[in-house]
Subunit: 348 residues, 2 copies
Amino acid sequence: MRPTAKDLAEAAGVSLATVDRVLNERPNVSSRAARKVAEAIERIGFVRNPAAVALARNKTYRFRFVLPTSGDQYLAELIARVGEAKEALRADSTEVEVAQIAMSDPHHVAKYLTAIDHDAVDGVAVMAPESPQVRDALVRLVERDVKVVQFLSGQERLESADYVGIDNFAAGATAGKIAGRFIGARPGKIMVVAETMMALDSIQRRLGFDSIINAQFPHLQSLPSLETYADEKRADLVIQRTLQHHPDTLAVYVLSAEARVPLTAVWNAQGDRDLTVIAHEHTPFSAQALRDERIDAVIAQDPGHAVRSALRIMRARADHRELLASQERIRIEVLLKENLPAPKAAGL
Amino acid sequence: MRPTAKDLAEAAGVSLATVDRVLNERPNVSSRAARKVAEAIERIGFVRNPAAVALARNKTYRFRFVLPTSGDQYLAELIARVGEAKEALRADSTEVEVAQIAMSDPHHVAKYLTAIDHDAVDGVAVMAPESPQVRDALVRLVERDVKVVQFLSGQERLESADYVGIDNFAAGATAGKIAGRFIGARPGKIMVVAETMMALDSIQRRLGFDSIINAQFPHLQSLPSLETYADEKRADLVIQRTLQHHPDTLAVYVLSAEARVPLTAVWNAQGDRDLTVIAHEHTPFSAQALRDERIDAVIAQDPGHAVRSALRIMRARADHRELLASQERIRIEVLLKENLPAPKAAGL
DNA sequence: CTTGCATTGAGGTGCGCACCTCAATATGAG
DNA sequence: CTCATATTGAGGTGCGCACCTCAATGCAAG
């Protein structure tokens, strides 16, 4: 039979009350008693019954995802996954909500984060661009004992918070390797497009990409990043111009999650060129383009996994629990037409 | 406040006892009462508190992984992941164990499975080669109300059991696509090596591989499968002979999880040829070879994910619970040197 | 009407723990 | 020694549900 707290008290030679004080880190425990209990825990292999703990605490956890308003397909996918998790966690007294706020003004974001109070929320997963204001606001959140997860965003990593997402340098390097190997021996140029190069993740992907192209594919030259600013007309213009100026363009690498605007522009302007196309994130658009062989490869991070991982982390932190690091590492996935997940999985 | 069973009874206009009968599917409930309760569940949004259920049931779950004895590195990795899960689930009254049995004789495997009794085990995850005997034994296990998961193995899918693992045809197709694109325009041959082609998963991978090579890379020819039977001498021999007979060999595709024997033979015999090498599964060996650029790409299925998925499925089945299908789909991962996970993740 | 069975309700117990109160004892400072 | 404070123990309550017993009611067949 599995030992209970009562058994533990007996084994440690103390009362149940003292065991309770030790287990829940309450005050007024002598170091001698604490040691006795700790030793007994090891000796009899005591493990708290999480079900009983949850029942007795009768606490509801409240976690919030703070996401941008501007909605590309990847964001929509992300929100759908949060919705799924929300349903799945309803049983576990865990409330999950999404707040979408404008990310353009760092002060506004910081203000929003600062207004979050510890009583209303146990943890937040924040997807916001890098800025000192936001970083400070996150630090203050942590100080108020709100668990913080830096979520899929190119922020400087905080010591006091967890990060969920891929290594963007490595993701860029992966894209570079695929591009180089897919292109083959032909010399030529690679067009690199981003929504904006202000974002840290775009910068890191670019650096990773270039590091591989330069080191391993010297016959290829990656052109300066084009920025679309999510503006269709501008994208058409700069992309068309670039393709004209560089007739020897062999490939296109889209750094941002939203590939629709730049790639539509590319397809309009490419003529009869054979371009190797690499984009980021699995979305309905990128999946269809993979199937149509208009995109050759997609570098992706699974949004469902990211959401669940963020929730597991916040929950574990709230309970002062350890977690399985290997499960929380988000993989840099390489998606081709051939290993694309089936669109709608038959309910298993 | 979240509604309890008591609230549900009130809302349904029945007693707690009847609610209990309905919720736990006990006999002696009129269809009228059942309807009233079901309606009230919808109306007030009642959800059982899993913590309370777990506590009241006070049941310990027992799950067993039935794996082969013969140990390649992937199997070792798998067993290590089961060990991790075992530790993690200790708190949740869930016992996880590994049984390694010889898989060479289907009768022996079937006998082992048949000997498992319902009282001792709630679920088994079986990794065994296809055979009618094993399939029948699994069906009988299901009939005895043991939850069965077909685990990472090339078995004909049972209707009554879950499958955890990748689509091996798609995995082979992915390998084919990578091989074709990495090789480029040069015409030549691809050597295909397997431990044995008796295994269904090897066959499916081969079919997937060939389908892509034939359809998309007509300048490439994939040679008949070489079988090593895990015999180093034999591997050396057949591989050396094949390389001699086909000087225009451009790539090697190793179908089996154990790539060490065939690839060592290849490296010994390749001379100054530049070969594109594709293998399966992330192991210390394949990871190191990726880093050394002796393997170009690895097609992998995450063993940690597979183990956790199998456990989640068995647990959900035992509780008659639904589960999130998207979480249980094992991805066909493409690993390059650039997106290889860090060897030892710093504890997060 | 009576008998037998199906259905329902009332109520109790226990799962393992968190959290609380109150009294008893120990320890240290002065 | 005396008082204040720190430490400890005993005991109770409740979390939400599963599982059990027993009595009461319903209903239908004979």
